[in-house]
Amino acid sequence: MKIIVLIKQVPDSTDVKIDPVTNTLKREGVASIINPFDMYAIEEAIRIRERFGEGEVVALTMGPPQAEEALREAISMGCDRGILVSDRKFAGSDTWATSYTLSQAIRKIDDFSVVFCGKQASDGDTAQVGPGVSMHLDIPQVTYVKKIDKIDKGSATVERMTEEGFDIIETPLPAVFTVVKEINEPRLPSLKGKMRAKKAEIRKMSADELSCEEDKIGLDGSPTRVSKVFSPPPRGGGRVLEGEPEEVSRELTGLLKDIVIG
């Protein structure tokens, strides 16, 4: 069984500090990591390959040249190979253009059964690319997958997490699954994996190679535009209450009375 995992390189927010003066993020020297939600996607793909005892897990990312590092990390965890979709022409892509570009790359991979991705990326938080890819490829999707009950080459039964519990869904394959944290516990890369990742050759694909239509990629292919970027007003009015527990609790109760009574 061939499985594709879509991953995204994002800034590591554990590394990020807030500048107390400007209330913005300090970005200097912020490390890049694989989007935390994508780690669960990678793990699930590897587990399925292991269960079947055969198959291939292909990690695919779209990003600048340095996103290669994310692919190497995915390989060190156990992905078989990595594909980097990278081209200056992709700059400025919104979720429409990104899901189009990724689906063009997926079309170059034959005979896959599942496309896994994290439920959303931690930097953009849109949760739009997974469903977008399924639509561009015209294959079924299940979002927020928290468990795979059954899977074989042609179909799968999975659980979709909902606000109230979960739905059990049976779907033909190939399909796109976006996964949530509950699905597994991602493994750490093994030493052997790290060695392999170092030497692995990363396949690079450009816009021309993917036969992308020019008006569907990058800024031209993106229906949305950023018209303004600004810092949110700092949270004002922060007040420290001091005194004995009895005293501060009484004061706080008074301050919150209106909210609590509704």
Binding site: S13, T14, I18, N23, T24, L25, R27, V30, P36, P64, A91, G92, W96, Y100, S122, D123, G124, D125, T126, A127, Q128, P131, G132, M135, Q141, T157, T162, E164, G165, D167, I168, I169, E170, T171, P172, K181, E214, D220, P223, T224, R225, V226, K228, V229, F230, S231, P232, R235, R239, V240, L241, P245, V248, R250, L252, T253, L255, L256, I259, G262
Partner: protein, 402 residues
């Protein structure tokens, strides 16, 4: 291909304004001139506007599209999500904001309701502000499924051409609306916290937090229709019902294959006991590493119960198995924006702050005065939570007469 954005060195005076304004840290100074790192740049244009010397230019779109005529696109639509036949409160929140937008544009506000035997719900949608309700009923639309819902909503939009479509950023909404937007080649902006109309251009201004809420971005969709947005729970206020309101119900039906689905919904399982709908809660009492152990969550539960709120937790508490994952607030858990968030023994790592900093009022109780949680707190108490929380519970019980 020319560079999509570049610095005109002759005009750059090295003032570094662009370096400061760049949300992505993509600009550095070299030889007193700005240099843009194109691998980091997202072409957001913040520097272009900031530069007082017009020294940064963005390439014009190569295939300038002819100015499209959008005069056929009218009305503001709200996708009215229903579960088990009842409309979810998110729909009423969207109708509240939708009414405002429709009034500014001078157009109708319409709700779209898909389901089986849900006609009775249309009245409430009208009371909450809808001028029209598009109703599609079929046994195959009883519960949400990706394929039929995508096809039906797409067809309705193609037929009636709304200029704006609003949808909740719920599990269903997020699964559905991206597919619809891709099919229609429409722009879609996720998790908007502000929606307004540009009075001059008559276009939708969609404001959303970017990069974990530390930067706000206003997004527009100039060259395609409809303009589509998702909005999270509790961001906008529910429209109040006005039982004197009148509206029109327009029933639509489609050929059978529009309702067909490749996947099959086998079962819907509810886990009321275990699932905490944090996103819906008005008040959340949350605990972190400072609680010291699972048994101490009982103290938080009592406070939460007193306040009629829900219990949340930081990742540290969840990872230590003190409380199930469904309670986790933060980047890899849930994003919440209650009216009141009480953080007890939570240091306030950035991942946690991302998940709760939009709460109306934040109370932080922590023994470490340097804890980052205090930077977002409306009220901070430096002290021993084991002494303070029982006192708080006691005082709230008195205040609420419990």
């Amino acid at each position: 291909m020319p560079d999509p954005i570049k610095v005109i060195n002759d005009k750059c005076v090295g003032c570094t304004l662009c370096v400061k304004v760049c949300p992505f840290g993509a600009i550095e100074m070299a030889d007193k001139k700005a240099v843009i790192d194109l691998t980091k740049c997202t072409l957001c244009g913040a520097c272009v506007k900031e530069c007082k010397f017009e020294a940064i230019v963005m390439a014009e779109k190569e295939n300038k599209k002819p100015v499209s005529d959008f005069s056929m696109y009218k009305d503001v639509w709200v996708f009215a999500e229903q579960k088990k036949g009842s409309v979810q409160s998110i729909a009423y929140e969207l109708l509240g904001k939708g009414r405002e937008l429709a009034d500014k544009l001078g157009v109708d506000l319409c709700a779209v309701l898909l389901g089986d035997n849900v006609k009775a719900q249309t009245e409430e949608l009208i009371h909450r502000g809808a001028d029209k309700v598009y109703l599609v009923e079929s046994p195959k639309l009883k519960a949400y499924q990706d394929d039929p819902y995508t096809k039906v909503l797409t067809e309705l939009i193609r037929k009636h051409k709304p200029e704006i479509v609003l949808c909740g950023a719920t599990v269903i909404g997020r699964s559905l609306i991206s597919r619809v937007a891709v099919t229609l080649r429409a722009g879609l902006t996720a998790d908007c916290t502000g929606l307004d109309i540009d009075e001059k251009e008559k276009i939708l201004l969609q404001t959303r937090p970017a990069f974990g809420g530390n930067i706000m971005a206003t997004i527009i969709t100039p060259d395609s229709r409809p303009q589509m947005s998702t909005v999270r729970h509790k961001v906008f206020k529910e429209a109040e019902p006005d039982t004197s309101r009148k509206g029109e119900v327009i029933e639509e039906s489609f050929p059978d294959d529009t309702y067909s689905s490749r996947s099959r919904l086998v079962d819907i399982v509810e886990e009321i006991e275990e699932t905490v709908n944090l996103a819906e809660a008005d008040i959340i009492v949350s605990g972190g590493r400072g609680l010291g152990g699972p048994e101490n969550f009982e103290m938080l539960k009592e406070l939460a119960l007193t306040l009629n709120g829900a219990v949340g937790a930081s990742r540290a508490a969840v990872d230590a198995d003190w409380i199930p994952y469904s309670h986790q607030v933060g980047q890899t858990g849930k994003t919440v924006c209650p009216k009141l968030y009480i953080a007890c023994g939570i240091s306030g790592q950035i991942q946690h702050l991302i998940g709760m900093k939009s709460s109306d009022v934040i109370v932080a109780i922590n023994k470490d005065p340097e804890a980052p949680i205090f930077s977002v707190a409306t009220y901070g108490i430096v002290g021993d939570l084991f002494k303070i929380i029982p006192q708080l519970t006691k005082h709230f019980k008195e205040t609420l007469g419990k």
